[in-house]
């Protein structure tokens, strides 16, 4: 009698498996086609593509690992303005406007939130870190007003980027 039960359960399982295999091709895909597809967010690419850290596909999956490894190097070894600097991320992906405004990370327009809201992954970084770029990493003209004395000069930055082995 127990064998009968196991047989029934296996049969049901097989039917479920077969249905899934048959229906899967019709299901929603990442590119938006298919049944029930939700278009995954595609945040805007910033203008200065020469400073891209890595191809998009790699960044989507690995950006947390880059940040995770970089943060200890910054805090403990004093590495600043490297390739994986969080300030660097913000300078390119969420720079403040000439009037000094940018979306905060709770705003759905924020670069990180476009994907994180979709994936339902809480962002912890911006509890502490500035969630917008003030131009301090790449010294672009959209400078902030937070303290002009500590703006990095273009020469210092250039030298740093060269020695960092980036680009």
């Amino acid at each position: 009698m127990a064998a009968n039960g196991i047989f029934r359960i296996s049969l049901l399982f097989g039917v479920w498996l077969a249905l899934t295999a048959l229906l899967l091709p019709a299901a929603g895909r990442a590119d938006g086609s298919g049944f029930g597809a939700i278009d995954i967010p595609r945040p805007a690419t910033p203008a200065n593509e020469d400073k891209c850290v890595a191809p998009t596909e790699i960044m989507r999956r690995e950006h947390m690992k880059f940040l995770y490894q970089q943060r200890d190097r910054t805090v403990i070894d004093g590495e600043r303005n490297g390739r994986y600097s969080l300030i660097g991320c913000m300078d390119c992906h969420n720079p403040v406007s000439p009037t000094g405004e940018a979306p905060g990370y709770g705003d759905p327009d924020h670069f990180c939130s476009t994907c994180h809201a979709y994936a339902s992954v809480k962002i912890d970084c911006f509890e502490c870190h500035a969630d917008r770029g003030y131009g301090t990493w790449q010294n672009n003209t959209a400078a902030s007003t937070w303290n002009d004395d500590t703006q990095l000069t273009a020469t210092t930055l250039q030298r740093r980027l060269e020695t960092a082995g980036g680009d």
């Binding site: 790699i58 880059f66 805090v75 070894d77 490297g82 913000m90 509890e127 500035a130 301090t136 500590t150």
Partner: protein, 249 residues
């Protein structure tokens, strides 16, 4: 039975090989990507940063200016009378009970060589950097506040509320502990030429009431002045060998 055993072994071996190969392919991109992306450390080897504060040369307005400069540089605010706002540096008014003479001392994290806060931190978030700065690694800080209990100078503050609008090089957030970093963002940028914000606020007209420099360099200005004039450390009996010394106390 023997044949079954061999087949079993062969299939198990095959599985393990396949799994190892799969794991290798998964790990490989990460290994490759980790290599590319090394920035350089700002830490200069063999240095120990310290400050010498000449209390005789600091008026009350000077000390207030120090506090205001630190607030501006590091992005913190403290409402008067607040018990929960962070204070990285504060003006302490000393009154000599015998003479009634008042003096004003800027008090901040003393960046001890043997910091009690580092000893007691359960996760090691409170740490002493290679160049002597005592910092909080807020990635690892769990907010237990034990370091605040242990600090002899009450230098640490706990962030009691959500913050926004943080400055780019000074991350600070709710639920973690922080204290004076000796403007580590300036030190990492300028090295021995760095001037912490408090020093910058009062150093003018050729005087340097707050002198920053490398204590391990016998030729640095701070070392020479310590050699000539001497200075005291707060609660020196505790043997913590702080990086901050005071003249005129």
């Amino acid at each position: 039975m023997a044949t079954d055993g061999e087949n079993h072994d062969a299939s198990r071996r095959g599985f393990l090989k396949g799994a190892a190969a799969l794991a290798g392919t998964l790990v490989a991109p990460g290994v490759f990507l980790y290599q590319s992306g090394q920035a350089s450390s700002s830490l200069l080897p063999g240095v120990r940063w310290g400050m010498l504060i000449d209390n005789n040369a600091l008026s009350e307005r000077d000390v207030d200016a120090c506090v205001a400069a630190c607030k501006r540089e590091n992005g913190w605010q403290a409402e008067p009378g607040s018990t929960t706002d962070a204070q990285w540096i504060r003006k302490v008014t000393l009154t000599d009970p015998g003479t009634g003479r008042r003096s004003f001392v800027p008090l901040m994290c003393q960046h001890c060589a043997h910091p009690p806060c580092v000893d007691v931190c359960p996760t090691g978030a409170s740490f002493k950097r290679a160049d002597g700065l005592v910092l909080v690694n807020k990635h690892t800080c769990i907010g237990c506040r034990y370091c605040m209990m242990a600090c002899p100078y009450k230098a640490r503050s706990f962030i009691h509320e959500s913050l926004s609008g943080q400055l780019p090089y000074v991350p600070r957030g709710k639920g973690t502990v922080e204290s004076c970093t000796m403007c580590v963002q300036r030190i990492d940028r300028d090295g021995a030429n760095a001037v912490p914000a408090c020093a910058e606020a009062v150093n003018r007209d050729g005087r340097k009431p707050i002198l920053f420099g490398d204590l391990n360099d016998p030729d640095s200005e701070i070392s020479r002045r310590l050699q000539q004039l001497g200075a005291t450390r707060l609660r020196a009996d505790m043997g913590l060998e702080q990086a901050i010394s005071y003249e005129g106390l």
